[in-house]
């Protein structure tokens, strides 16, 4: 009872983002480089993960590889990549990632750590904090893949975790979706060339939603769930809590 009262005495901490403010609140997202005209961009060789690629006069960013280390954005460079704020980072990777309508208000996820450094996992864990309060959106963690609608995979998929990951995917009932979280899960990131890494998630199981970032901030993760649940573009972030 003591703690219940203490909890109720606290102000509402849940974050609501007004539709108008598309830009990031400071500290909610690290931002990432944006495609820049080649004449203003640094050399592609500056990128430690080879995420920069020149195409038709534009320096493009492969977000699956980008770890936003800011090497292409440091002040000492003559030409810098433009930096974009925001968190609408989730990308669709399969023809029909959206789950049927029944899942709009109820989605269970099983998180599989396939070699994560801990940062992506902690951002997922942070979703359950009062600040993001993902339960109000009908999303919940489940301990078993048997109850899961979506498998959230983080990390570069190590050789030793590959079979466990396949087994977890097989155990899920249909319809099921896979969300790959973080640059490691999408491209191997800094660990891509390791002999102990079996490759990005899509080499093991098919991926429906990709959320790039190192780590992707919690709001970008909610953006991924929005694509799965088919809620309005700002839906999950907007929520229903009044400040």
């Amino acid at each position: 009872m003591l703690w219940l009262r203490k909890g109720l005495n606290q102000p509402v901490k849940t974050l609501t983002v007004k539709k108008s403010s598309a830009s990031t609140l400071p500290g909610l997202s690290s931002g990432r480089p944006a495609p820049t005209a080649s004449k203003n961009a640094p050399l592609a060789t500056i990128c430690p993960t080879h995420a920069l690629r020149e195409q038709e006069g534009m320096m493009d960013v492969d977000y699956a590889r980008c770890i936003h280390c800011r090497r292409c954005h440091q002040p000492s460079l003559k030409n810098q990549m433009a930096w974009e704020e925001g968190y609408h980072w989730a990308e669709i990777r399969s023809p029909s990632p959206r789950l049927p309508g029944a899942f709009r208000h109820s989605l269970h996820m099983r998180v599989v750590d396939a070699g994560d450094c801990g940062a992506c996992l902690n951002e997922l864990h942070q979703l359950a904090s009062p600040v993001y309060s993902l339960h109000r959106l009908g999303i919940a963690f489940t301990p078993t893949p048997r109850d899961a609608d979506v498998l959230v995979v983080t990390g570069p998929v190590t050789v030793s975790m590959k079979e466990a990951l396949e087994e977890a995917y097989r155990a899920m009932p249909g319809p099921k979706r896979v969300m790959a979280v973080g640059s490691c899960a999408l491209s191997g990131g800094m660990f891509a060339s390791s002999f102990a890494v079996a490759g990005p998630v899509e080499r093991v199981i098919s991926v429906d939603i990709a959320v790039p970032g190192c780590p992707p901030p919690p709001l970008a993760l909610l953006d991924g769930f929005r694509l799965l649940m088919g809620t309005a573009s700002e839906g999950p972030v907007e929520g229903t809590v009044k400040p």
């Binding site: 750590d113 450094c117 864990h125 030793s160 466990a164 977890a168 390791s194």
Partner: protein, 522 residues
């Protein structure tokens, strides 16, 4: 007897042992057969950090450096050459070396004579044949088994009637990291606990070979994302020692500033885990919201919520205005005050205390034989802290205490974390006043490593001592790099803390240790 006099005594007794001064440590070359005796003499006063491998000029041979350190003393590297022949085990005199030797056997194919349990550790035998030794020199081709069948079972040693093994993992509960436990039981009590790590082995140390220091740092901070800055700091300091770079006083203070913010955030995260494991969701959520606030402060000021890419070799990625630093210190005051209020209230909550007191006890003796580091060691009465023992960055300029608890149980670890937050906050508050004028000395990548030699870099991460042993070559690339992380040391003792406690205590004991699997698996 002091650590220094023990060393002097040993050197005077054995004239054939040559001690040479390296860049920031002392090398003592010995015959393999001398090793157990020497270790036995050093061990009571010197702390064993781990084994750092070093390339030998001769092909197909490796030098093992058994690294020891002591308060205010030098770092010692006892060098043993290995070309093919066996090395006597030291894990019977120094149990802390157990996992270190098993790692060296799996990765370098060094055979330790007398070690009872070698093989199938880092590289799971279901995927790699025994003797793969990927870290050995010239092992370019690392063959994986084609039809490896993964055995997810755990070993079993208890033979009492009705006994069984409760397997947990590698995938279990919420956002837990992948690791496997086997809890042997005859009913309610955990009689024996096994632990099977390295499901997440990413071969970081192999990956670091042949990299430039700047790229090595990017990999190093991704070993454990939640204590990234401390790992980066340890590694950067090793490179700075190799290159002979001087760090400006302002950069040193700012490194301490961010390192302590990381410590506060990491401790708050562990505390939130403890509260969650005991089912107190209200305080757990309140604390977790404070963690998010710290992440946002870090993100707003450094551009990364987990402080990646803050440390650069030679300084930091950027400088902050004095006003920025002061405003963080102010915001931190509110966060720490709220956290302390919640933590203080918990010390009066009987249902909470009942689940922590006398649970998961690790006696000072056990903690000593395992050579534990960090808050887990300090909660068991071992006052071991690199910030005091080997002050790096600006830790010799700030005033702080290292709290120590005597009991070694779950509640001691809880109190330890909450007292360390107060001390870290004390350090952070001192820094704005001490800062030199802004804009002084933040060198870019203008350093150069020209000599082939080995240096140690070390830092006290929120979870304990991180040691980074780097050998460079003449081109300034990494030849060998070994990261001895608190995870590697402290997980070793975790199964012992489980013994003779009940099943329902398992998640609580796990949470009070606050260990990271990524840190262990590397």
């Amino acid at each position: 007897m002091t650590p220094a006099s023990v060393l002097e005594h040993i050197l005077s007794q054995h004239a054939e042992m040559s001690a040479t001064a390296e860049v920031n440590w002392i090398r003592i070359a010995v015959q393999p057969s001398w090793l157990p005796e020497l270790v036995g003499q050093l061990a009571p006063l010197w702390t064993f950090a781990g084994i750092v491998p070093e390339n030998d000029p001769q092909p197909q041979s490796v030098r093992l450096l058994y690294v020891f350190y002591a308060p205010k003393g030098p770092w010692l590297g006892i060098e043993v050459r290995n070309h093919g022949q066996n090395v006597p085990t030291i894990s019977d005199t120094l149990y802390a070396a157990d996992w270190q030797e098993r790692e060296m056997e799996d990765l370098f194919d060094v055979q330790f004579e007398g070690h009872p349990q070698l093989g199938d550790f880092v590289l799971h035998d279901s995927h790699w044949p025994e003797g793969t030794a990927p870290m050995k020199r010239h092992s370019w081709e690392i063959r994986q088994k084609v039809n490896g069948f993964q055995d997810l079972g755990t070993p079993r040693i208890v033979e009492a009637p009705g006994s069984f093994v409760m397997p947990i993992g590698p995938i279990y509960s919420g956002t837990a990291e992948s690791i496997q436990f086997g809890l042997e039981t005859v009913g309610e009590e955990i009689v024996f606990a096994h632990i099977r790590p390295f499901y997440k082995y990413r071969a970081v140390e192999k990956l670091l070979e042949g990299r430039t220091p700047a790229v090595a740092l990017l990999i190093g901070e991704r070993i454990d994302g939640l204590t990234a800055l401390a790992h980066a700091l340890a590694m950067a300091q090793a490179f700075e020692t190799l290159a002979g770079v001087q760090i400006s006083p302002r950069a040193k203070l700012l490194r301490v500033f961010w390192a302590e913010i990381e410590r506060i955030r990491s401790h708050i995260q562990v505390l939130a885990g403890i509260l969650e494991s005991t089912g107190l969701s209200v305080p757990a959520n309140l604390i977790q919201a404070l963690e998010e606030e710290l992440l946002q402060i870090s993100g707003a000021l450094t551009g990364h919520r987990y402080l990646f890419e803050v440390i650069r070799i030679g300084g930091l990625r950027r400088d902050w205005s004095d006003a920025d630093i002061q405003s963080i210190a102010k915001r931190l005051a509110l966060i720490v005050e709220q956290a302390q209020r919640i933590l203080d209230a918990l010390t009066f909550d009987n249902s909470f205390l009942d689940r922590l007191e006398g649970v998961g006890t690790l006696s000072p003796e056990k903690a000593g034989t395992h050579g534990l580091v960090g808050p887990v060691a300090r909660a068991s009465g071992i006052s071991r802290d690199l910030r005091i023992w080997q002050p790096y960055a600006a830790y010799d300029q700030v005033r702080f205490d290292v709290p120590v608890q005597a009991e070694g149980d779950g509640y001691a670890r809880f109190r330890q974390l909450s007292q360390e937050i107060a001390q870290s906050y004390r350090i952070v508050q001192q820094i704005p006043r001490m800062l030199m004028p802004a804009g002084e000395g933040f060198p870019g990548d203008g350093f150069r490593i020209t000599e082939a030699r080995t240096a140690f870099g070390y830092a006290e991460s929120p979870a304990g001592a991180v040691l980074c042993g780097v050998s460079s070559n003449r081109q300034g690339m990494v030849e060998r790099c070994r990261m001895i992380t608190p995870g590697l040391v402290n997980w070793h003792a975790f199964p012992h803390a489980l013994r003779h406690f009940a099943f329902q205590d398992f998640p609580i004991i796990l949470a009070t240790f606050g260990l990271s699997v990524a840190d262990l698996d590397r």
